[in-house]
């Protein structure tokens, strides 16, 4: 009997792990710190309201939801990393917020299209200064992956020992195939009255879409929540090195 229980448990865990195996490859890519990710967030983040208390220790993701120009618009994002060097940009059509992280410094700048040509603004036009990296926000919220949604959904697949107690503890729930032929893997987390469910979609093992829903019950008993859908156009282990340096138009004017 005991043997059956042990074998059963082993089969269950093996199956459970095997079911969630497709996302494992992407976890390994993130842990390798060498990648390029391109995505489109089809679901505009809601405008910041007074329910969003200011985080004492800052935010990890780029604050696109606070940028009036990007509110209520689908957004495109690029994240590339090569060891400790990282570059992120999130924006829409002709306006992007960008961050280059290099040598413990963060360079924030925006780029926008004017008469068909990109223009760059850091501290001012064509000039940028380095800021100290916010290590605390990164420890508490995880690494930044573009906007808040992508940051949240990619940190979800990282191991729990890398997550602070302020983050969600996701558990594998189910895996299967939908009618269109895409495979999926589902994860769920419950914390502080908030339920978060995430579905990662794969086309022949390739991550192509992430859909998530987060909801909680309000004091009046009504359910309040938000859905989020992201299309992944690239998720490779190859860093795009051309992005890991300041654009030629931007001059670093940091006093060090």
């Amino acid at each position: 009997m005991k043997k059956f229980l042990i074998v059963g448990a082993l089969i269950f865990f093996t199956l459970a792990r095997a079911e969630a195996a497709k996302i494992d490859a992407y976890r390994e890519i993130l842990l390798g710190n060498s990648y390029t990710i391109r995505y489109e967030n089809l679901t505009p983040a809601p405008r910041v309201t007074n329910k969003d208390r200011v985080e004492l220790y800052g935010k990890s993701g780029l604050a696109v939801e606070e940028n009036e120009y990007l509110v209520n618009r689908p957004k495109f994002g690029v994240i590339t990393a090569d060891g400790g060097d990282r570059y992120e940009e999130v924006g829409s059509d002709d306006f992007f917020m960008c961050r280059l992280s290099r040598g413990g410094e963060d360079f924030f700048f925006t780029k926008y299209k004017k008469r068909g040509k990109w223009e760059y603004v850091g501290e001012r036009k064509n000039r940028v200064v380095a800021n100290d990296k916010n290590y605390l926000a990164e420890i508490l919220e995880g690494k930044s992956f573009g906007d808040a949604d992508m940051t949240h959904l990619l940190n979800a697949i990282l191991p729990n020992e890398m997550k602070s107690a302020a983050q969600f503890n996701y558990k594998f729930i189910a895996a299967g195939k939908i009618a269109s032929g895409l495979d999926y893997e589902d994860f769920r987390a419950d914390s502080g009255g908030v339920t978060d469910v995430v579905r990662y979609y794969f086309d022949s093992g390739k991550l192509v879409k992430i859909a998530a829903a987060s909801y909680h019950k309000k004091s009046d008993g009504k359910i309040e929540g938000r859905k989020c859908i992201l299309k992944i156009s690239e998720f490779s282990a190859t860093p795009e090195k051309s992005l890991l340096k300041l654009p030629a138009e931007l001059k670093d004017v940091t006093r060090r």
Binding site: T49, N50, R53, L56
Partner: protein, 270 residues
């Protein structure tokens, strides 16, 4: 005889260690002062000198702008209003209400219980208002549960670790070190926040914070304490009872027409 020497040695070294490891005596005074809610604090971080004070349940803050040199002017167009002789707070908490002074003798008001109303205009920054009145993180070591601070379950309360001598700009000073564990989902500490309080002549003059992660230390912040005392100096803040008070907009027709509704003066609300 040998036993006596051994016991004496233990007592001697024990007392030496306890003295070397003891918190600076002033730390307990600061703790009591901040907990009482009656205090006056001036500190300088890299953004300028900030004044924070509490009295009889009220809390107020303002920046001390140096208009003559032009410093800070670019950062805040309100600098002119709050500089010079006008000592109006930028933010005042009184009787369960937050007042945001936007012009000379003009302030918007929002009830504390209404602060998370999602219809409040996000451009008015009500979500940041409590944070403006919070003790700076470094000095919150003395009052971790300060009402106006945001907290996270991931950061444990600070624990005093040791006292030692530290060289700051070529001068030795006393330094108290506190640490906060940052907890992970698996429970083990992934990193620590280190707070160092620097004392000269028994008074705190600087506070620094660092992250300790994987054996490496990364600076977070540092501030110079200019003044720290229980009483608010005369004239440090001037709050005019004639200040016109406008209700924080919650998306009603007054908001749409951009004609804020005056609900009285500060005196009327007392």
């Amino acid at each position: 005889m040998a036993g006596k020497i051994f016991i004496s040695a233990i007592i001697f070294f024990g007392s030496f260690i306890s003295v070397a490891d003891a918190e600076q005596p002033a730390a307990e005074n600061y703790r009591q002062m901040f907990r009482s809610g009656n205090f006056y604090l001036e500190y300088d971080d890299k953004w300028g000198v900030r004044i924070l004070a509490g009295k009889d349940g009220q809390r107020m803050e303002r920046m001390r702008y140096d208009i003559e040199s032009g410093k800070m002017k670019w950062l805040n167009p309100l600098a002119e209003i709050f500089a010079g002789e006008n000592k109006s707070p930028e933010v005042l908490y009184r009787d369960g209400r937050f007042y945001h002074f936007v012009e000379k003798e003009k302030a918007n008001v929002c009830d504390e219980k209404n602060l998370q109303n999602e219809n409040l205009d996000p451009r008015q920054g009500w979500n940041k208002i409590a944070h403006k009145l919070a003790l700076p993180d470094e000095l919150a070591v003395f009052c971790w549960d300060d009402k106006f601070r945001a907290t996270t379950p991931a950061i444990a309360a600070p624990v005093f670790r040791e006292s030692f001598t530290k060289n700051f700009k070529g001068t030795d000073c006393d330094c108290d070190r506190y640490t906060c564990e940052i907890k992970t989902l698996t429970g083990s500490g992934t990193a620590q926040i280190i707070y160092e309080m620097l004392y000269r002549d028994g008074q705190i003059f600087r506070a620094e914070s660092y992250i300790l992660r994987n054996g490496r230390t990364y600076p977070i912040n540092a501030l110079d304490v200019k003044k720290i005392q229980p009483e608010i100096p005369d004239g440090a803040f001037k709050i005019s009872n004639r200040t016109k008070i406008y209700a924080a907009g919650t998306g009603d027709k007054d908001d749409l027409l951009e004609t804020p509704r005056q609900i009285g003066t500060l005196e009327d609300l007392r």
